[in-house]
């Protein structure tokens, strides 16, 4: 696999080149956050950032989208007039490996099995994902504990690695290979490659030590009836911030917005943290308290998804930890559950 050199000084020119054929999203530094924005001519963007507050999933799986429109007229009732699908050629530049792994997860959920999601997949297929490896993992980063890595290429088409005033760019997919070849870059020289290697080593040293989640999936379902969930969830205020910021969360609602002459079928984000998530029309709620809802969150991410699609539903990006209004830390939840599974095992012996 060729290793190309992308000088940092050439980024604005790269943006212009990309914009000739593609829509471009890149990180933009705002007063109080970094957010992925659409880059127009001369718009500033940066690859010198920790992570965006909102995960990049919003570009592929927006908070609300129209699935179809329908019209009603005298002789035609509820005639579906359009099924909007976004397949505008796009480049997303500079997302972190955790976010790219989030896309890998969504690819499996929305693209495997019996039902495929045309809205998500159209955007995904039309997009070149250029991920940026993490030279400086943060205190809240734990991708390495959930099957990821600050230098993982999963989910991306290209991976950029920090070097001396430049990035080393390596394709991760055929799409990435073709895209890189079209840019007219030079191949990376030995000096830049060596610097990139040194930076990568230092980055791995910075990772906060945390026991890998591996193996947890086999033990968690045994805790289904445990009271530990109620204790874990007691301070949760069910606001859904964790769900909305999570690169892996993907539950949604479908409903119709009905107007006099037609309407739209709307898909919008839902969250298992909300009380109404599982409430039945009878009024019965099989997950009646926040403990049951937290149990669902953990089991979905750490037991069911590994079983169903072969990877955790958590990519270790740390957003939920930083932005939870009551600072409920999923790492502490996992640590607590480890203690509980060990205790349960002991109790059975």
């Amino acid at each position: 696999m060729k290793q190309w050199l992308l000088p940092k000084s050439s980024l604005p020119k790269l943006a212009d080149t990309i914009r000739q054929t593609h829509r471009l999203y890149a990180p933009v530094r705002l007063p109080d956050q970094v957010a992925f924005g659409e880059i127009g001519e001369g718009d500033p963007f940066t690859l010198d950032y920790a992570n965006a507050r909102t995960s990049v999933k919003t570009l592929f799986f927006p908070q609300a989208e129209t699935m179809l429109r329908y019209e009603r007229s005298l002789d035609r009732y509820n005639d579906i007039s359009a099924t909007p699908v976004d397949s505008v050629p796009t480049v997303v530049l500079g997302m972190r490996p955790c976010d790219a792994r989030g896309l890998e997860l969504l690819d499996r959920v929305f693209g495997q099995g019996q039902y495929h999601d045309p809205y998500y997949l159209a955007r995904r297929q039309a997009t070149v994902v250029v991920a940026l490896a993490c030279a400086a993992p943060r205190q809240t980063c734990f991708c390495h504990a959930v099957g990821g890595d600050p230098y993982s290429g999963d989910g991306g088409d290209v991976l950029l690695s920090e070097s001396d005033e430049a990035y080393v760019a390596v394709a991760q997919t055929t799409k990435g290979q073709e895209w890189l070849a079209s840019l007219g870059l030079s191949e990376a020289d030995a000096g830049h490659l060596a610097t990139a290697e040194t930076i990568a080593e230092a980055a791995h040293e910075k990772l906060v030590k945390m026991a890998p989640a591996a193996g947890l999936e086999d033990k968690l379902t045994a805790l289904f009836e445990s009271e530990v969930w109620g204790e874990i969830a007691e301070k949760c205020i069910a606001c859904g911030t964790c769900t909305y910021l999570c690169p892996g969360c993907h539950c949604f609602n479908i409903q119709d917005r009905v107007l006099a002459n037609g309407g739209i079928r709307l898909r919008s984000w839902d969250g298992c943290m909300y009380e109404g998530f599982t409430v039945h029309t009878s009024g019965h709620n099989p997950r009646p308290d926040q403990g049951a809802r937290w149990r669902q969150r953990v089991l979905h991410k750490f037991a069911y998804l590994p079983e169903n699609v072969g990877m955790y539903g958590c990519v270790g990006c740390g957003r939920c930890i930083t932005y939870c209004p009551v600072r409920l830390d999923i790492r502490e939840v996992i640590a607590r559950l480890r203690i509980e599974t060990a205790a349960q095992l002991q109790g059975e012996q």
Binding site: Q33, Q255, S268, R327
Partner: protein
Amino acid sequence: MSSLPTEIQQQIADWLSTGEIDLFIGWEQGSVPLGATPAFVRDPQDVSRLIWDATCENNLTAYLAKFKGQKVGIMVKGCDARAIIGLMQEGQWTRENLRIVGVSCPGVVDARKVASALGITLEELDQAEIVDDTVVVGDQSFALADTIHDMCQTCNRRNPNIEDVHLGETLPETPVDDPFGHVGEMEALSSDERWARFQAETSRCNLCFACRNACPLCYCTVCFADRTQPQWLTTTSEAEDVQFFQIMRTFHLAGRCVGCGACTRACPQGVNLRLFLDKLRLDAQEVFGYTAGVDPEAQPPLRTYRQDDPNDTFL
């Protein structure tokens, strides 16, 4: 981060071991910089986990609704205490079921301000600690007073007005010249300009409901926003849903909001919710001479009628 004084720890432990309370709600150290986390203590031995310092920003009274009818102990700052009175005014809690540790608060630190002062985002604030009256981040330090939330800087209720025991020294209640000064910004605008300001501020809202869930006075068992028959809003982040929710929540709190600021601190998107809620608090004062959360016997204005109620606010 400091543990509670021994006598306070002993008092809480006594309340628990004698069964005067089943549960004490306080704060303990969190896992991210400058953020304590709520603690639910039932065993007297766990009282040593509890802390009090300028990272204790959550209004714990928002949890009281979950324990309605039980005997609960709780730690409250001056602003939080007003919510207890607000809940008593609305018949949600009785005094005898509460044991209250009141703490005089000079303000709680806003981690975003610290990040901003360093030119970084919250994700990039890896470490920070409070040492006496300063916030120390590596080799940089800031005066704590400069990093407290905006709402704390205009606080005129630093000491709780309801408590059983008091932690620490009572702070002087320095009269604040213009506690509603920030509202003046809205009042100076024309009607169209106010609407534009409201639209701009709430455009950052993505309807996560952190504000509602952190609010001690939002205790409806089924919120209007969650109703499906009829359905009042969908959960998109489009203006029509966001604005409807924000307007309705704000007006549902008219004459009831105690101004604790928990909503604004909870918001992950940094929406300045106080701007609208404090306007209504100011209105309640000016129109009805009423402040929520002060006198448990006082009647909320939208629930009562007086013959001499001013009529000029009605169309």
